[in-house]
């Protein structure tokens, strides 16, 4: 997915971009409101991440101009403040959601997904491999005409595997992606989710292979 990140702190912008890159997302960075408005006009973004305190003004003024321009790209605000009144005023101005700095990337991703799901009246970009169609925003998996609703961790695991077809993921890497660093889980926990996905994918041309001692890989039979 393509994100526009409006953040004046270059260090943070780099950190976010590099972390988003790990999930296969593309991030454009604007450090000023004026740049951000130009970017937003020129590029087709799935989502905008907006810092509130910017050198050439308040992020809220960007929100106002953004919405005034009939641009309905969803906006998630990155705020340093946790006061409730501030949150409410940002939602009033047309932000779709917010996260408080410092934030957990998994939470940011979850919020992005929720916002996109809420906003998407029309078709969402789906990933298709063979006879399997996957809608990562809604969490729908369509195998040979049957639609399955995936749980969140199943969906994140499948998204990871499908975005890097043929790439091997170690159990630890998968645990890191699916669980918080704070969750006390063993690497074997991943087997449960892989097992479920295998069951969902049964009979299709897509398989999750176990490479003993190395990890898992998504394969597609031609």
């Amino acid at each position: 997915m393509k994100y526009l990140l409006v953040e004046d702190n270059f260090e943070l912008a780099n950190a976010i971009s590099s972390r988003m890159g790990l999930d296969g997302h593309q991030v454009d960075h604007a450090a000023k409101i004026s740049d951000a408005l130009d970017y937003a006009k020129a590029g087709e973004y799935d989502l905008i991440l907006l810092d509130i305190m910017l050198p050439d003004g308040d992020g809220r003024s960007f929100l106002k101009q953004h919405r005034a321009g009939k641009n309905d790209t969803p906006v998630i605000v990155l705020t340093a403040r946790s006061q409730v009144s501030d949150r409410i005023s940002m939602l009033d101005l047309g932000a779709d959601d917010y996260v408080t700095k410092p934030f957990d990337h998994a939470e940011l991703q979850a919020r992005c997904r929720a916002v996109l799901r809420r906003k998407s009246g029309t078709a969402q970009p789906t990933t298709r491999i063979g006879d399997v169609e996957f809608d990562p925003v809604r969490g729908h998996l369509n195998v040979k005409g049957t639609t399955i609703n995936l749980r969140n961790r199943e969906l994140r695991l499948l998204e990871l595997l499908m975005n890097a077809k043929g790439q091997v993921f170690s159990k630890q890497k998968l645990v890191d992606r699916l669980f918080s660093y704070d969750d006390d889980v063993s690497e074997n926990a991943i087997e449960v989710y892989v097992g479920r996905l295998r069951k969902h994918l049964e009979g299709s041309s897509v398989h999750i292979r176990t490479l003993r001692g190395i990890g898992y890989r998504l394969d597609h039979e031609e």
Binding site: A80, S82, P102, R151, Y181
Partner: protein, 455 residues
């Protein structure tokens, strides 16, 4: 409430005293003026009749053969008859010697010619009004001075005057009552302007520092102007400190976010267990400090707002619906389902910001301790009283410490490994107390913790 300033007199009493005192004075003045005028008019009336009587008697006087003859008609005296049967006295003098009538009537001697003379005098134990006139009869040898006095008691006049006095007194009292009522109405209206200003300033919430814009009378303009200036200054200094806090939070939290993002990205890449542990500690420290800072600010805000509780109609159903929508992404991450069991508006008089904060903390707690693929149920009940239960399917509270958990910075003995500040339940408890409600912690029979807020 005890005033910490000196109260000296009352504008309302001062105004009322001046106005009613003035009205009383005017009423008394009115009474005497009207009564005096009425007396004068009544007296003139009596004098005119007396004068006519005297004239008709004088006109009857003739000089025949050097002797004064006077045969006055009966009507001369009967014209003086009154409803009060006033007594009439007369005296006729020829050159100062009583010719006929009552002796000793005060005549106001010295009257001469046709000039009339009226005096009030005492006669036969009564006050009488005496009219006297003289006429000179010219005879062949000499002229003679005939003087006639007619007197009448004043019973009818006094009666009339008393009637008029009573009426005037009644009228004066009525005038006084009306004037007093008008004075009180006028005073209340004037003081009412002040009261309205007071009420509108008192009713403001602690956050409302907007200028006073309603129309006020000219006399109050300086007061309102200085009030507005004061509020503008307060507002500005509040904004400055808010901006300062925002700027400070931004400066502190943005680098923290940078560190956390880098740590997380690195954590995803490194294999070495030692490095991973270090990164994990780092992220935990950042999350803990950020959470503690947020909770402390929230707690301060809750304490402040709870002390100055502003009540408005809050629909808990709508509030919880928003909250659940807002928290669902976090629940999703852990594959925990968040259910809201509420189907009717639950209107509560309270502060929406506080209530939202309390419920967010409860749901946050439930999310922290709920195992994956379980659900958290928020049940809203409106009868007999509004009650919200937040229950999870986790391991529940430790029974021996259940009473202490709402204390400040108290954390459960089994919360090792969970990030928390020990303020979540304190905030919820403070909010519930401010709304005169009860918070109950319990463990469900089916397992899991349940926090109930009853309002």
């Amino acid at each position: 409430m005890k005033n910490d300033f000196v109260v000296l007199g009352s504008l309302r009493n001062q105004l009322a005293t001046i106005l009613t005192g003035g009205a009383a004075l005017l009423a008394i003045l009115l009474f005497f003026v009207v009564r005096g005028y009425a007396t004068q008019i009544a007296q003139e009336g009596q004098d005119n009749i007396l004068s006519a009587s005297v004239s008709s008697i004088l006109d009857a006087a003739v000089l025949r053969d050097g002797v004064v003859e006077l045969d006055f008609p009966y009507a001369s005296l009967s014209m003086l008859s009154t409803s009060a049967d006033d007594r009439i006295f007369y005296a006729i003098y020829e050159d100062g010697n009583l010719l006929s009538g009552y002796d000793g009537l005060e005549t106001g001697l010295g009257a001469s010619g046709n000039a009339r003379m009226f005096v009030s005098a005492q006669y036969d134990n009564a006050t009488v009004r005496v009219a006297t006139a003289s006429r000179t009869l010219i005879g062949a040898d000499r002229s003679r001075q005939v003087t006639v006095s007619v007197a009448q008691t004043q019973d009818a006049l006094a009666e009339t005057l008393n009637r008029i006095s009573r009426n005037v007194a009644g009228f004066g009292l009525g005038f006084f009552a009306l004037a007093t009522a008008l004075a009180f109405w006028g005073t209340s209206t004037t003081i009412g302007q002040l009261s309205r200003l007071t009420t509108s300033v008192t009713r403001r919430g602690p956050q409302d520092l907007s200028p006073f814009l309603k129309p006020v009378p000219t006399e109050m303009v300086p007061l309102v102007r200085s009030l507005n200036t004061l509020m503008a200054r307060l507002d500005q200094s509040l904004k400055q400190s808010e901006d300062f806090i925002a700027e400070a939070a931004h400066r502190v939290r943005t680098p923290l976010a940078t560190v956390r993002s880098y740590a997380e990205a690195t954590f995803q890449r490194v294999q070495n267990q030692e490095n991973r542990d270090a990164l994990r500690s780092m992220m935990r420290a950042i999350d803990e400090s950020s959470r503690a800072a947020g909770q402390l600010l929230d707690h301060a805000m809750v304490t402040f707002r709870a002390g100055n509780l502003e009540r408005e109609d809050v629909d808990l159903d709508g509030l919880l619906r928003d909250l659940v929508q807002r928290m669902t992404p976090v629940a999703d991450m852990r594959d925990v389902a968040l259910y809201l069991d509420s189907n009717a508006p639950a209107i509560l008089q309270g502060d929406p910001v506080l209530l939202q904060n309390a419920f967010r903390n409860l749901i946050d707690n439930a999310l922290k301790y709920a195992p994956a693929e379980t659900s958290i149920m928020i049940h809203v009940q409106t009868t007999p009283r509004i009650r919200v239960d937040v229950s999870d399917q986790g391991r529940g509270f430790l029974l021996h410490e259940i009473d202490k958990l709402a204390g400040r910075f108290v954390r459960g003995g089994d919360t090792e490994g969970h990030i928390g500040s020990g303020l979540g339940l304190t905030i919820a408890q403070d909010v519930v107390n401010a709304h005169d409600g009860i918070m109950t912690l319990s463990n469900r029979q089916e397992g899991g913790a349940c926090v109930s807020l009853q309002f």
